[in-house]
């Protein structure tokens, strides 16, 4: 009787522990899924926040560039035009002084003519810098050709340009973005990279308009975070974002710069 009782109690114990094990493992599983879900949602939220932060940074850099551009234009206007017009106005007042000899009069008028011509030239140059007329009149291809020619004429750098794309069917408002990207890249290559050879290629790669830009300049460590935060790069990135494209930028010290971006 006793041994049967003992056996029975052991069976009950066994069943009890199997049940207990079931319940506890079930609990572990439920808790695991509950916390995992929470964590995954948190990770998603963090990712989105990071994206928003990045967008904000881009927007900020656009604003900063805009301000800098304004500052530059203001400086150009002040230095190149206002100062000249000032002298012109002074000279004009001089003309009003009585008893001027003919030679003096001639000198002053010549001065005025020369200065107004310079002011005119400067204003044309400023306007040209802001928006090259070629770009508007003859499209991106001609615009880039002119840009390349300008750089080539400095003799310090040799820029080669190849184009297999037809830009005429491409929306005109996007031409300026591509032009500015190239302008920024060329300026960087020359100013920071001290490059002597630059190649720009437009190709149709996998049905996507692709631009490949390579220079042989000093380059920099593109993997370091500091170098990715430059205003110029941010600008290029936001322009490529506008174009709905992707970009890939690689550079190593003393190995030049290679940038590939596509656009739609």
């Amino acid at each position: 009787m006793n041994s049967i009782n003992l056996e029975n109690s052991e069976i009950i114990q066994g069943v009890f522990f199997i049940l207990l094990a079931f319940i506890s493992m079930f609990l572990v599983l439920i808790l695991f899924f509950y916390f995992s879900r929470k964590k995954i949602v948190q990770i998603e939220v963090d990712k989105k926040n990071l994206e928003i932060e990045h967008q904000k940074e881009l927007l900020n850099s656009v604003l900063i560039t805009q301000e800098e551009e304004r500052k530059r234009i203001a400086q150009d206007l002040h230095d190149d035009i206002s100062s000249k017009l000032n002298v012109v106005s002074l000279n004009s007042h001089l003309l009003k002084t009585p008893n001027l000899s003919e030679s003096e009069q001639l000198e002053i008028t010549n001065n005025i003519i020369e200065l107004t011509q310079k002011a005119l030239e400067n204003s044309r140059r400023i306007a040209h810098d802001l928006l090259p007329p070629v770009l508007e009149k003859f499209g991106l291809h001609a615009g880039i050709e002119e840009l390349v020619e300008e750089f080539n004429s400095t003799k310090t750098v040799k820029v080669s340009y190849e184009n297999q794309l037809d830009f005429e069917s491409y929306p005109i408002e996007k031409h300026l973005h591509i032009f500015r990207i190239l302008q920024e890249l060329l300026n960087n290559s020359l100013r920071h990279g001290k490059a002597t050879e630059i190649s720009i290629q437009f190709t149709n790669f996998d049905n996507q308009k692709t631009c490949t830009y390579i220079d042989n300049g000093l380059g920099f460590d593109s993997s370091s975070e500091e170098n990715q935060k430059g205003l110029g790069m941010k600008n290029i990135e936001s322009r490529i974002n506008f174009l709905g494209g992707n970009f890939n930028f690689t550079s190593k010290p003393n190995e030049g710069v290679k940038m590939i971006f596509n656009f739609n």
Binding site: E7, E10, I11, Q13, G14, V15, F16, F17, I18, L20, A21, S24, M25, V28, L31, F32, F35, S36, K39, I40, I43
Partner: protein, 152 residues
């Protein structure tokens, strides 16, 4: 012998997880259980030495459940990122889950004393599960070993 095996497994694996787990609360749980559980189990035997020679369910339950919890904690810690000992941990968790049931059911089977064949089947299942676990361990070892080689 079984008592020692279970306690040994618990202590070693608790130490292993104490190295892997990160947050304070998790580590505290591991350390507290690492002290409290062995003390509790040993004191039981000191109070009633007869218990040592009997089978009891409480011991395997108490020594494996915390390990399952630690293992899940480690999985949770590394959600969405690269994890240390990921495959080893999966193999361990899998084996702890299944073997607990196998042992509990096997004990019931011994007490009930039914059909001989089921016992053999359960032994085979246990061996297969061990192999699966070691398969995971082996894969983990391979990953670690070859990664080390790459670094050198």
């Amino acid at each position: 012998m079984q008592h020692f095996y279970e306690l040994f497994q618990f202590v070693i694996l608790s130490y292993f997880f104490s190295l892997l787990l990160k947050t304070r609360a998790q580590l505290l749980t591991v350390y507290i259980l690492l002290i409290v559980l062995p003390v509790f189990l040993l004191s039981r035997y000191l109070i009633d030495p007869n218990l040592f020679f009997e089978y009891n369910h409480l011991e395997p339950y108490l020594t494996t459940m915390p390990l399952i919890v630690y293992s899940s904690m480690h999985l949770y810690n590394n959600l969405g990122e690269k994890s240390d000992f990921y495959y080893g941990n999966i193999g361990l968790l899998f084996y702890l889950f299944t073997s607990t049931f196998i042992f509990l059911i096997y004990r019931l089977y011994v007490v009930l004393d039914i059909d001989d064949k089921i016992g053999d089947v359960m032994t085979i299942i246990n061996i297969t599960l061990q192999y699966i676990k070691f398969g995971f361990f082996f894969y983990q070892w391979k990953l670690i070993y070859f990664n080390k080689n790459e670094l050198n």
